[in-house]
Structures are given as C-alpha cells and as structure tokens.
C-alpha cells in the first residue's frame, strides 16, 4: 500500500436551500485518501455521506451549493476546475462511481453494451470495437457469464446483482484511479452482497485503485475498509484504521452505534444498547457539538462550544470535548433479561400453516403472455404460544406472501392456515383482527398520511366498536405511553414523525386490540441501526409484558440470532429448514442456510469479505428450477437434486430440513469455508469468545 495521498479534501460543505431554510447537508468535512487504500465512510441515514461523495464529482442536485477550501485529486484542485473539464477529464475517467440503486441507475432504454462502451468512446480516442472488447473483458471479470451476448441485453432483463455488476464494470471501463461506491450492496441480498464486496475487493487490489466505500453497515466496513470515517450530521466525527475505530471507539457516537448492532460484543444481552433521539435537523447553525443532545456524556460545554479535533497518532482523530461520563444521563447498563424462551419449547401451537401454496399470474411487458408465478409452494409452519419464530430468506422468496396469507389478507390456492383451531379464511375479519395483527416493514407506507396519530392508533377500536369514544381515547393514550410515544404527537400527522416514532405508532396500532400473535414483516429493515435497536428492545419488552407471540420476518441473520427462539429459512417459496435457533444457526443442515450464514457480515475488522460459495443469483420465481429449487446454486448438487424435489425430513436434533444432502452439508461446507466462518453469525454462545482478536 503506497502512502502517497491521492485525494485530500479540506473543509467541504454542501448547503441545499429549501423552502423555509437552508439545509446544511455537509459541514466542513476533511478527508484524506491514499493510493490503493479503501476508505469506509459510515453513518446513519441522512448524515451526508452521499452528499460528500457527490460533491466530489460535482454531481449534486441542481439546487445544492458546494464550497470547499480544497479538493485535491491527484495533484489537481477539483473545486476550481470547470464543469466541462470535470466532465471530460475526471468523471468516468479518473473517478468512477457506483450508486446505491442498481435497479434505477442504468438507463432502461439502452442496451448495457451501449452503456458500457459509451463510457469509453465518450472520452475519445477509443474505437467502438476496442471498447467492446474491454466491456466483454470486464463483464467476464465481474462474473457475468457469457458476456458477449450480455451486451445486447437491456437492464430490465438482469437481476439486481447482475445490474450492480454491470455498474461496477461500467465504472471500471476507463481504469479510474479512484472508485467511489455509494452503498453498493445495500439494496441487495446478503448472498449477493458478499459476492459484490468480494468482487470489489479483488478488482481493487488487481487494478491498484483507491476506493471510497460508503455504507451504513458497520459489518461491511469492518470487512472491506482499510480506514474508516464515521459521519454524523454532516461532519466526520472519528477516523482511523478499521481496527482502531471498531476495537477502540473514542467518539460516544461511534461507541453508541456499535452497541446498537445485534451481535456486537455484548450480544448475549437481550437488550441492545441504543442512542436515544434522532439525528438533528440539519437546517441552520448547530451550536456546540451536533451529537450533544443524544450523548449520554454531554456536559454544559458540549452544547455551547464546537468540539475540538483530537488526534491519536498519525491518522487517527476524533472530534469531541471528551467529557467524563455524566452521571444521571448515563443510560443504565440494562440487566440481562432472563430468557424465558427455553421454557417455551413444546407449548401448544397457536397458529398452524399447512401445505400452503400460492401462485400469481403475471404478465410481463405489454405483449407478453400471462405466466404463473409460484410464490409459495407447499409451506408448512407452526407457531407456538409465546415464542419468536423468525422467518429468513432472500428478497422475493415469498416471505411477505406468507405473512399475508397468515393474516387472511391473501387466500392460498391450496393448504390451510389454522388460527386457534379454525381456518383464518372462515374467521370473521373482526374476530381475526383481535387475534392476529401485523407490523410492516416500511414505516412510511404503513401509516395513512392523512390521519392523525391518535386516529391511526385508535382506528382498530373504532372499526371493531370497542368501547365508547372517550374510552377509546384513553386506551390510545395508554398505548402510546406503552410504546414510548409522547402524547403531544396525538394530533400530529405521520409526516411530522421520525421513522422510529412511526414504527412505534405501527406497533401501538397492532397491539391496541390485544392480539395474541403479531406478525412483524421486516419491522426494522428500513431503519437505522440506532433506531432498530430501540425498536427491537421495545418489541421484546412488549412481548414479555403482554405475553405476545411473534412471527418475525427478516433477512438479517444478526437480528435472528438476537431475538428468535426458532428459525425458519425460506427459499423460493419453500421452507428449506426450520428448527431451534441455536440448532439452525450453529449447525445448519441445509446448504442454503449455511450459505446465508457465511454471507452475513458481522463486525470483524480482522477478517476479509468471505469468499462466497453460492454461485448465481436468486432465481426468477417465474422460472423455478425443477427438482430441488436450490440446485443451480448449490455446491453439493448432484443428479438427484436436479431431478427430484427433496422430502421434508426431521433431523436428529429436531430441525426440519428439505434437502437430499442434509446429512453431509455441514462437513462439506466446513471444508469449503476453511474454518473461516462458523463464527460468522452471532449466537449468544459463540460470538464473543471466537471473534475477539
């Protein structure tokens, strides 16, 4: 690694004038990047990560204003060059960029061949044929099979992972010196994420590029970055090498953030650490330390004076007054809550899903024929009283469809869902509503923006005609208290609330009818870690308080490890494996479970991005492979897997597995993984000891 500096940013600010005031998205950021180095920028949503990256290339939204003392890139000051020069000399040539949204970042009306080659031909002196050759070469490198014929394809014919690979190839067409990757994997599934990160890492070393990797996922930076910059409210609060920052966080924010991650250090605790409050609105001037209001250590000066930059060694700084822990403001170290789960083992089953199948008929394109899409294939599940059953699986595998079926919102083609001994379909909707309630993923779309919070929470009471109006109101207020909503938001609208608050509203609404079962469909995947921690804590507390049963849908294995009693792994509309959490996470029987575990990235600075074992992408559910649906991606697949659908079997330790190779999965995989990844997933038992350096 060369120590020569490639990029040096001093005092970069971005201001976006809005209707009422000016939003200062980036406030005086200083950054430095050396050749060949990977810098990870982490921070919660809205902290200004993307704006910083865009400001570098002057790709900000039209209204935004940029100012910088200097932006030195390879000897030139980018803050001074003209737009024309920037476009002609720098963008796409010396700096390549990959964006977060693979689905929308490629122009849908042009073939990817054209989009790839024009990156080169635009900057002159390269013939189309040369560019094509380069494109094919790069596509090969990023792992797209049959690149020659790919060039004719259009973006919509590719999956998200494939598109992201094309984006990467596109960014590399001119062999840039710097690659900026803005959340390149956030929209992708874990298995694909691992593939992409691995790929980026390989390419970087091969081509000797520097890279700025922007992400909010501490797991990702811990594996992929050499150095880390932690951003908060438009400013960098702490920098240093990955190991230093993650092992020994100095800024209270960094520390708080790490504690929020399920599975980090104190993962055995049932309660996660949390950063109270929300990111401050970034309009106007912030007096003192931007983090002071949320800081447990904040003292008087934190609110009045800008914190100083403190340096620890050569490239390690943080920005803090560094006060002592403030007594009273300290969030009490939560005592580990006794786990009741163990005792809930074989209790009576409250909800039973038996052989449910569901197909949709979809038309592709204007001229296409209708095709059937099998979203659920013979799914069976049991949820027992008082337990948390986690349902994991990649995007599109049918998780939401299953929850809708369970809720009685969708009628299965075959099979049945039994709730309290009766099929849900036969229950009158209001009776069903009192027994089972959902919490959804997106706190923005799950609340009607035209209703006040009080109305939203009280609506189930109204619909079910529970009690008089006054009584309903009282109940709503009680519920708001319970989920930690201030009563003054009673008459507010959802738009006025933060994401975490909204999710609390959704929880309150789900619980106000006193249901037995709550179906949580990825309730935290749209939230930042700090907020996720709050919500997860709340959900667990409520469960104990109100004696609830959860079906918890997620794609995040660390969350599973944190709160589930039992786990069901779904693949392409089937339950691949289902059993106790500890069994499934520690001794996965199904190769797919195994692969999922491998791909999950925990915070482990000493480790690299693991080598992915799965080939290919999550298949399009419209073309389900025959035999075992997993066989095209499975490293163990043989002729039987390709031809025959595996039976569902109960293994010795009580997990249900649907795989011909269930017996030998563990063995083969541990060979493949070279002992690297058993610790990949935090279970309370194995996390701390094994992941310590």
């Amino acid at each position: 690694m060369s120590t020569e500096s490639l990029l040096e940013i001093r005092d970069l600010s971005v201001a976006i004038p809005t209707e009422t005031s000016t939003l200062r998205a980036v406030r005086g950021v200083d950054l430095e990047l050396r050749r060949g180095e990977t810098l990870g920028i982490v921070g919660e949503s809205g902290s200004g990560k993307s704006m910083t990256a865009l400001a570098l290339m002057n790709l900000l939204p039209p209204a935004a204003r940029r100012s910088a003392a200097c932006v030195n890139f390879a000897g030139a000051d980018l803050s001074a060059v003209s737009e024309k020069e920037l476009a002609g000399q720098v963008r796409g040539r010396k700096i390549g960029m990959i964006f977060q949204e693979p689905m929308t970042s490629l122009n849908p009306v042009y073939s990817i061949g054209r989009q790839l080659t024009e990156t080169m031909t635009l900057h002159g002196d390269v013939s189309v044929a040369q560019a094509r050759r380069r494109a094919i070469e790069l596509l090969e490198k990023v792992g797209l099979p049959d690149p020659g014929s790919r060039l004719k394809q259009y973006p919509h014919e590719l999956s998200g992972g494939q598109r992201q690979r094309v984006m990467i190839a596109m960014a590399l067409m001119n062999e840039p010196e710097l690659l900026i990757a803005d959340e390149p994997t956030t929209a992708l599934d874990v298995t694909i994420q691992a593939q992409i990160l691995h790929l980026l890492h390989g390419l970087q070393t091969e081509l000797g590029m520097s890279m700025i990797l922007i992400t909010h996922d501490l797991g990702v930076v811990s594996r992929a970055a050499d150095r880390i910059a932690v951003m908060y409210a438009g400013d960098i609060v702490e920098t240093g090498t990955t190991g230093q920052v993650l092992e020994d966080p100095r800024h209270p924010y960094t520390r708080g953030l790490l504690e929020c991650v399920p599975g980090y250090r104190e993962a055995s605790a049932r309660r996660l650490g949390s950063i109270p409050g929300v990111v401050p609105s970034m309009t106007g001037e912030i007096r003192g330390c931007a983090f002071a209001a949320r800081c447990s250590r904040a003292v008087e000066t934190c609110f009045t004076e800008s914190p100083p930059v403190r340096a620890l060694g050569s490239a390690r700084t943080y920005v803090c007054h560094d006060p002592e822990e403030t007594p009273g403001r300290l969030s009490p170290a939560e005592p580990p809550v006794a786990r009741a789960a163990a005792t809930r083992q074989d209790q009576d089953c409250v909800l039973k899903v038996e052989g449910v199948s569901r197909s949709f008929s979809v038309r592709r394109g204007m001229f296409g024929k209708r095709k059937s899409l099998k979203a659920l294939d013979n799914v069976s599940l049991e949820i027992r009283k008082g337990e948390v059953l986690a349902l994991v699986g990649e995007s599109g595998c049918g998780k939401s469809t299953l929850t809708r079926t369970i809720l009685g919102l969708d009628i299965p083609d075959s099979g049945s869902v039994t709730l309290a001994g009766r099929p849900v379909g036969e229950l009158p909707p209001r009776q069903r509503a009192r027994m089972i309630q959902p919490i959804f993923q997106d706190p923005y779309s799950s609340l009607n923006p035209r209703k006040t919070i009080g109305d939203i929470i009280g609506r189930p009471l109204q619909v079910n005609q529970v009690g008089a109006r006054g009584e309903q109101q009282a109940r709503v207020r009680r519920m708001m208290e319970l989920v930690g909503l201030p009563t003054r938001v009673f008459n507010s609208f959802p738009d006025q609330l933060s994401g975490g608050q909204r999710q609390r509203v959704a929880i309150a609404r789900a619980l106000i009818l006193d249901p037995e079962i709550v179906i949580c469909d990825e309730p935290t995947s749209a939230l930042d870690v700090s907020v996720q921690a709050q919500i997860l804590n709340l959900l667990l507390d409520l469960r104990d308080e109100l004696d609830l049963t959860y079906l918890f849908v997620t794609h995040d294995l660390s969350v599973v490890g944190h709160l589930a009693d039992r786990v069901a792994v779904m693949y392409l509309g089937e339950i691949a494996e289902c059993g106790d959490r500890d069994q499934v996470l520690a001794h996965p029987k199904h190769p797919y479970t195994r692969a999922l575990l491998d791909s999950a990235l925990t915070i482990a600075p000493e480790l690299d991005v693991p080598e992915p074992h799965l080939t290919g992408d999550f298949p399009n559910p419209m073309n389900r492979p025959g035999g075992c649906p997993f066989h095209p991606r499975c490293p163990l697949a043989d002729a039987r897997c390709r031809s025959r659908v595996p039976e569902r079997e109960r293994s010795t330790d009580g997990t249900l597995v649907k795989c011909w190779k269930a017996g030998d999965a563990g063995g083969v995989f541990s060979q493949l993984a070279k002992g690297q990844a058993l610790d990949a997933v935090p279970t309370p038992e194995n996390n701390k000891e094994e992941s310590a350096p």
């Binding site: 790709l59 390549g96 122009n107 009306v109 900057h123 919509h156 394109g365 001229f367 296409g368 024929k369």
Partner: protein
C-alpha cells in the same frame, strides 16, 4: 404482439358498436330526419313520402340491424342529406381535416417541444416562467375566440391571410395555429415534467458520473426516456384533431370532418353520423395503438417485458 394487436382491435370494434348503437337510438327517439331532408317549408305530403321512402317509420332495432348488416358488407350507405355515398363524402372532407390536423400537430410540436425542453433544462429560469405562462394563457383562451381575434387581426385589419375556405395553403395557416395552440399547454407541460423527471433520475446521474454533460446528456441519454409519454399524448391529441376540429372548422368555415359531423347531427343524417363515429373510434384506437407500438420500440421494458 399479434395477440395484443388483436385484443386492441377487438376492443375498438366493441367500442364502435356500443357507441354507434347509442347514437342510433338517440336519434331515433329525438329527431325527425324527414323534415330536414325535405326542408323547412316542405309541405306535409312531401315529408310523409320521404319518411316512408327512407323507412324512418320502422322500429329502431330493424333500422339498426339493416345498417349494421350493410356496413358488414362494406356498404356504408348513402347520406340522407347529401344524397351521396357516405364513403365519398368522408373522403372529400377528410382531406381538409387531415391537412389541418397534421399542420396543427406540427405547430404544436414546433412550439411545445422546444419550449418544454428549455424550460426543463433550466427550471425556475425566465425561460421556464415564460413557458409556463404561455401554457397557462393558452389554456385559458377559448379556442373559438382566439380564432375570431386572429380573423379580426390578420384577415381583416391586416389582410395577410384569407378569412375562410380550404383551397390553398394560406387558408390553413390561421386555423392550424388555433388548433395547434390548443394542445400546446398539455404537450409542453408533459415535456417539461417528463424531462424534469428523467433529468432527476438515477440513471442520468450515472450518465453524468460517466462524463456526459450538456446537449450530449440530453440527446444521448435523456431524450428517449422523456419521449415515451410525449408520444402517447401526441397520439391522443392527433386523434382528437382528426376526430374533427369542430370549433376551428366552424370558425374558419372549413369543410372538414368536424363540420360534416356537426351538420350530419343537425340534419339527423344517421348513415353519415354512424360512419363518422366508426371512423373516429377506429382512428383513435389505431393511433393509440401506434403510440403504444412506438413506445414499445423506444422502450425495451415494454417490448420484452
């Protein structure tokens, strides 16, 4: 694709049938074509004779079935009023309307597209304000009034163009402008918002990150995407113009389909009205179909799904 086209055509036929049956009934119950054919001062005997001769005294269903039957055999009948085969009548009038509609569309495109594009490229600039105020005013000026004002101005006060008629290209200038102006707001706004949307999209940001700027960014990256909704709206606009620009034709006394349609209604000339409706419906459906196909050609997502 063929099945798609077939489905659409079937739909068109169904629409045409429904509409034409509705019209038939409407006229049967409310008007007396015989008197119109005979003329206002015509004596009783004459009107009665005509009624019998044309079979207006038969039940509506019988009349409709007769008409439908002959249409299915390709015979669109004789106009009651013009006493001329309807097909010929339509051919004659269609020339004017097609000329007018196409020139109006040209004017719309020539005004609206550049205006919309330049407005989108510099939102909130003076170009944008100018474009928007043009749209707002054009939307508020009654078409017929604009026609009258233009006549007062350019045909009487400054006699540059003829007042009326459809004999030379000069006759088409004012009407085409009036008719074209009426769809400028819609097309301009759509171009502007469409292009603004596209310019704000992720893939344009990608293109900029690759080094595209200026006109290359617009022409080689954005235009094709922005074109999609414009194609559709232009097809609808053209359809409506071909469906007879009643007002314009009446203000400028042009003998187009719109005028023919109106007069046929006033004269209860059912065969003509019916054939025109069939024509309008089919034109409209064909045009929107064409727009869809163009869009499918422009956009692989539609083409291949």
């Amino acid at each position: 694709m063929i099945s798609y086209v077939l489905r659409r055509t079937l739909m068109a036929l169904l629409v045409a049938l429904t509409v034409s049956f509705g019209t038939f009934g409407l006229f049967y119950f409310a008007t007396d074509p015989a008197q119109t054919i005979a003329g206002e001062d015509a004596p009783q005997e004459m009107v009665d004779a005509i009624r019998e001769q044309y079979g207006f005294d038969r039940p509506v269903s019988a009349q409709y079935v007769d008409w439908l039957g002959s249409v299915l055999q390709g015979d669109f009948g004789q106009s009651y009023f013009w006493k001329q085969p309807v097909v010929e009548l339509i051919q004659e009038h269609a020339k004017v309307t097609i000329m007018l509609a196409l020139s109006a569309l040209l004017i719309t495109v020539v005004i609206a597209l550049p205006l919309g594009i330049s407005a989108a490229l510099r939102p909130n600039s003076w170009v944008d304000r100018f474009a928007l105020s043009t749209a707002v005013s054009a939307q508020a000026i009654p078409n017929f009034w604009l026609g009258l004002m233009l006549i007062i101005l350019f045909a009487v006060t400054f006699p540059i163009f003829p007042v009326s008629g459809d004999s030379s290209w000069r006759n088409y200038v004012l009407p085409a402008f009036v008719l074209g102006a009426s769809s400028v707001p819609a097309v301009m706004r759509l171009t502007r918002t469409g292009l603004l949307d596209v310019m704000g999209s992720d893939y344009i940001r990608t293109a900029r990150a690759k080094g595209f700027t200026g006109y290359r960014l617009i022409l080689r990256q954005a235009l094709r995407n922005a074109l999609l909704p414009i194609v559709s709206v232009l097809a609808v606009q053209l359809g409506h113009k071909l469906g007879g620009s009643i007002v314009t034709e009446s203000v400028f006394s042009m003998n187009g389909l719109g005028r023919l349609a109106v007069e046929s209604i006033f004269n209860s000339d059912i065969p003509t009205v019916q054939s025109l409706i069939l024509l309008f419906v089919l034109t409209f459906v064909l045009l929107t179909l064409a727009a869809d196909l163009i869009n499918a050609w422009l956009d692989p997502r539609i083409r291949m799904g």
